[in-house]
């Protein structure tokens, strides 16, 4: 019986009904799921629309509230004032903003519209709620009528830019004086303080990591004045500090050979520095083959760099170089050529080895003391660095008093001009062995 093929065939088909039912049930569930999600989406969007309509009402009401406010209070709604409103069981956040707007441009009274007073206040109410995709925003304007603005008040328009004139946002501003105000610059680098009592203010600005034109880190303090009935533009410029690494060389005699030189300080100058040239390094201290100048404001125009510490060291020709300081970076300048002082120290007719040599800058002082550099001499009687024992002939551009001493006797030569980049300045000092006024070592 079990081998009856017809019966076997019938038995094989016996379980199919269940599978068919299961499959069809699955199909029905899938279709139902799709329909259900469609219904859910429709319901959700309808609910969103209802929330939107309520949010719109809340925005409209906020606009009405803003219209009853004084202009001075309105213009201070920047950053926005946030209030929470519960309507129909849903919590809405209402952000009210008031910004003085310029009539000629129709935009926020930005700092670019210099000198033109703000014409009216734009009031905006932005309403958001949990799950809101797009906020509801209502905008309107309030124009100042006679008497709505204090005639004794003025406006300050503060612009913060970097050295390239690009706007700096987020510069913190606070001020005290005839009144007080605080805020920060917006994405256009502008901060607008309207309706301020006229008078002078001490304004403190700050931006972490930035320096001003005089390479001072924040906070910076400036005095600004608000003029009654008008807008006063104030520009501030800050940048991320750059670094300049100067290296030095001097010419050996009038030959074509140059040797690496050492210096102890450099001066960096730019016409836009308000406090004049800035000096870096340790004048009269350790001399090194590189001197780093940091921090420096990254001016758009090139800075002048020369060795030395004072304005008197302001060199000419190859003894100074110009560099454009990079913003937030470092630049290695071309070598600065130092004019050479080819000093030859002798005693009793032969080169004085191990003599003490002091070279004092006659026109450059640190405090009340002239900058003095100390050397030793090698077996040829030429000055060497007392620490590294490397011959040193390069000096910052200037006029010097040179003293050489050995064995309790010294000799001083004054008004030695070291400004020759072609052949250097030749000087021979013979240390005396006797004579009045020659006793003692060089100071």
């Amino acid at each position: 019986m079990r081998n009856d093929p017809a019966r076997n065939a019938a038995e094989n088909q016996a379980g199919f009904v269940m599978i068919e039912v299961l499959v069809s049930a699955l199909v029905v569930v899938i279709v139902a799921g799709a329909v259900l999600s469609l219904i859910t989406a429709t319901t959700r969007s309808a609910a969103q629309e209802r929330l939107r309509a309520t949010a719109y009402a809340a925005a409209q009401e906020d606009q009405a509230r803003l219209r009853t406010m004084r202009l001075s209070s309105l213009s201070r709604l920047n950053p926005p004032q946030k209030t929470l409103v519960t309507l129909d069981g849903t919590e809405y956040t209402v952000e009210s903003t008031g910004v003085f707007v310029n009539n000629s441009t129709g935009t926020d009274s930005s700092c670019t519209s210099e000198g033109s007073a703000a014409d009216y206040v734009r009031i905006a109410s932005k309403v958001t709620w949990q799950g809101s995709r797009e906020p509801v925003v209502l905008r309107s304007i309030v124009s100042p009528s006679n008497g709505s603005l204090d005639p004794n008040h003025g406006t300050l328009l503060i612009t913060a830019t970097n050295s390239l004139g690009e706007p700096l946002s987020g510069v913190g501003i606070s001020a005290t004086g005839a009144g007080t105000f605080s805020g920060s610059t917006d994405s256009t680098g502008c901060a607008n303080f309207s309706d301020l009592p006229a008078g002078n203010y001490t304004m403190t600005t700050s931006a972490t990591g930035f320096v001003n034109a005089d390479a001072q880190f924040s906070p910076w303090t400036t005095t600004v004045g608000a003029v009654a009935g008008s807008s006063t533009p104030v520009s501030v410029m800050y940048g991320l500090p750059g670094r300049v690494k100067a290296t030095f060389k001097y010419r050996v005699g009038s030959s074509s050979e140059y040797r690496q030189a050492s210096a102890d300080s450099v001066v960096v100058y730019n016409a836009l520095m308000t406090k004049g040239a800035e000096s870096f390094g340790s004048p009269g201290g350790t001399r090194s083959t590189t001197v780093e100048a940091y921090p420096l404001f990254p001016f758009k125009e090139a800075d002048t760099v020369y060795a030395g510490y004072c304005e008197a060291n302001k060199a000419e020709g190859a003894a100074r170089t110009t560099v454009i300081v990079p913003s937030n970076g470092m630049i290695e300048t071309p070598e600065i050529q130092l004019p050479a002082l080819n000093l030859n120290v002798t005693k009793s007719g032969s080169p004085a080895s191990g003599a003490r040599v002091t070279i004092t800058d006659q026109n450059c002082k640190v405090g009340s003391t002239n900058v003095k550099r100390v050397y030793s001499t090698n077996s040829s009687g030429n000055p060497i660095n007392p620490t590294t024992l490397i011959p040193e002939a390069g000096l910052p551009w200037g006029t010097y008093e040179v003293c050489a001493s050995s064995g309790g006797r010294h000799k001083t030569e004054t008004n030695i001009s070291v400004k020759n980049l072609t052949s250097g300045t030749n000087l021979s000092i013979a240390i005396p062995t006797s004579g009045s006024g020659t006793s003692g070592e060089c100071p």
Binding site: V17, A25, I39, A64, T68, H153
Partner: protein
């Protein structure tokens, strides 16, 4: 063994009763689930429809009242809100319909009041007199604005009145009603209503909707001096 006609007939015997029962019961389960889903979604859809209807009805009426309040300053420096206004009764003067843009619009004295869930508007036409001492017709023209209206809170106000005080809004007392002094300095009226749908196809406690809006009765911003007064229609 060859397939015989008898064997073939036995192969086509169909489903057993058990199989049929199981199949049907599974089908029933699926169909029941589906029906429940459809019924629930129909309910939700109906609830939204009624809410939308309530919102629409309420919004139209609210807009009408707000527009009338916005055309209330028919003459400069008058006080459009009248004394004896209460939380459920708003009395004010405004430009007659269609005259909002006129140089000297004809005023109308309007009383909007809520009674037994019905919001009605009574308009008294001007019969003579000059601002602000107009004379009004004795008989109003009364229209029903909306039914099924309740305050947001039980026995609470639907109209609230504000004056300007020390640089901000200050709520005015309506107990028992707005005094003549307070009416003269009302610069903002806030309206808050709870509206139920006119028809209720589905019983749903959440079908009513609350709507609100405010009208400012000032034409210019207040003085820079926060102690200065800010009367209406200035």
């Amino acid at each position: 063994m060859p397939v015989t006609a008898k064997a073939l007939a036995r192969d086509e015997r169909g489903t057993t009763l058990v199989e049929l029962l199981v199949g049907m019961s599974m089908g029933m389960v699926v169909i029941t689930g589906l029906t429940m889903v459809i019924v629930a979604s129909l309910h939700a859809s109906a609830r939204i429809t009624t809410r939308v209807e309530a919102t629409q009805n309420g919004r139209v009426v609210l807009t009408k009242i707000i527009e009338e309040l916005h055309s209330a300053c028919v003459v400069p420096k008058i006080a459009p809100i009248q004394k004896e206004s209460t939380g459920t009764s708003l009395r004010f003067v405004h430009a007659a319909s269609g005259q909002g843009g006129a140089v000297s619009p004809t005023p109308v004295y309007t009383v909007i009041s809520l009674s037994n869930g019905i919001l009605t508007q009574s308009d008294y036409a001007a019969t003579g007199g000059t601002a602000p001492n107009w004379t009004w017709a004795a008989t109003p023209n009364t229209t029903r604005l909306m039914s099924k209206v309740v305050p947001l809170t039980a026995n609470g106000p639907i109209f609230t009145y504000y004056s300007y005080l020390n640089g901000g809004l200050s709520l005015l007392s309506t107990s028992p009603s707005l005094s003549a002094t307070d009416a003269a300095k009302t610069i903002e009226v806030k309206i808050e209503l709870n509206v139920s749908p006119a028809t209720t196809p589905v019983k749903d406690a959440g079908a009513d909707t609350s709507i609100q809006d405010s009208a400012v009765l000032r034409l210019t911003p207040p003085s820079f001096n926060e102690n200065a007064t800010a009367p209406p229609c200035v």
